[in-house]
Amino acid sequence: MNLARVVENKSFYNYGVITFKTDKKLDIEPGQFLMMKSKDGYNLSKPFSVMDCKDFEFKVLIRNAGDFSKFLIKLKIGEELLFRGPYGSPFSKFIDFNKKYILIGGGCGSAPLMHLKKIYPNIIEDSVFGFSDYRIKSIVDDDNIFVDRIDGMNPVDYILNRNKGKDINIISCGPKGMFIYLKYIIDSYQTAWISMEENMGCGIGMCKGCPVDTVDGVKMVCKDGPLFNIKEVIL
């Protein structure tokens, strides 16, 4: 595994944005994730999407979900951890560069979408990044961050409303509940790519730890995803 050293950590209790520096030149496409673990202990590596990446540095957006993410949020500048990757298919594998996309992020799922927006600004029609804690604005800088309801609507309704009538292609990343809702409301002629999350073991497809039911049978989030067509996935 590779070593990464914290060069910046902007965080509060619920969320953190951490920038790491490594010795190895990185080539991480939007949509890919890294498997990270602490230097001590015999725990699984855990998957985190990259929010930004350049040369020897990468940035992640962390939600305090349990032991490891808490450990990440508390990291001090200069402290180190281990990572491997990038894994998972990049968004660019599925994207039609002649089309325009709407990005819908829920919580930390916003991270890879922000990365996408930065690298391929021309294909982005609109975006919304929903969070439940307003303090997120103090650590993540984006005009489309919304906290809770927007004009009394949830972020999905809000953005679809705002882009009514357009040829809608969606890329979404967030909690499962959001996808279920999305699947329920979008029309059959609309495309939506969703980035799935599942508890992971190996992160590379060998342990069969991260299944997702699809119309073509069981697939692995880490190897066959994390991006899936919403029509393909049985939510």
Binding site: M1, Y42, G205, C207, D213
Partner: protein, 308 residues
Amino acid sequence: MNLLETNLFNKKIKNPFIIASGPCGNFEELSEIIDINNLGGITTKTITKEPKIGNKAPRIVNLNDGLLNSIGLENKGIDYFIENEIKRIEDYNTLKIISIGGYNEYDFEYMIEKIDDYDIDFYELNLSCPNVNKGGATLLNDKKLLSKVIERSCNSTDKPIFLKFGYESNLEELVKIGVYNGASGVTLINTLKGMKIDINTGKPILKMKTGGVSGSFIKPMAVHCIYKIREKFPYLPIIGMGGVFNHEDAIELAMAGANLIGVGTAMMMDPEIVNKIIKNTAFYLSSKNKNFEDIVSKSHERTDNYVL
């Protein structure tokens, strides 16, 4: 001279480190990360007669220094394996162990007959997967059926057959039944049964509720099981596994009595870790001026220096 080299059934084995069944699937992904030919051996993920789609997610829970899984033996079945995977596996220049699981003696016989002419080395009968309801698990509760499974499997091939058991109350008895019915060795240990409940929802985290516990914290139980069986069966080949993450763990299992050392969960944490373990074990042995075989079963030596 290769200090790590070891022998089983007149086969030279480069080093005692083999991939345990399951965590590395059938090495397709792993082979892109490490050179499989550097390993002592590989064990396939348990293959069943019919395809199995495995259990619903979540299948994996991280425990502090351990792992809880309920993969449910997801695999595409013996026919798919033979059509699509065995050729690639034959090509690896390493010890090849085929793990198979089934419900009765006919399942095992059927699979062995299909696979026996390929270039593989040993079979491992997975008699102890905690993740299947009708599967191997129940074999252990039905000694007649178990005997038949082992006997019929052994009669179906000239290749050595290892029996894989977990931390069972009657482990000695099970091994005795195995040896009596013709098994060549045993693999110890499979995962223990465990559960984790999310206290916020009040529900078990695994969809299947109960899963198999592996990783660092089952090592003391693995060492105990290996030691106990080595004590009773001084010459029985044992593939030891359970919580091996570094060369010290490996040496501990070897000293308890393991002839080969399986690495499972550690490979999920870091797929390159086995290379580090091999290198560090070689370094340890050379610094002690010993071969790997010198330390196997060392904890059973009497003070009068009688060596097993």
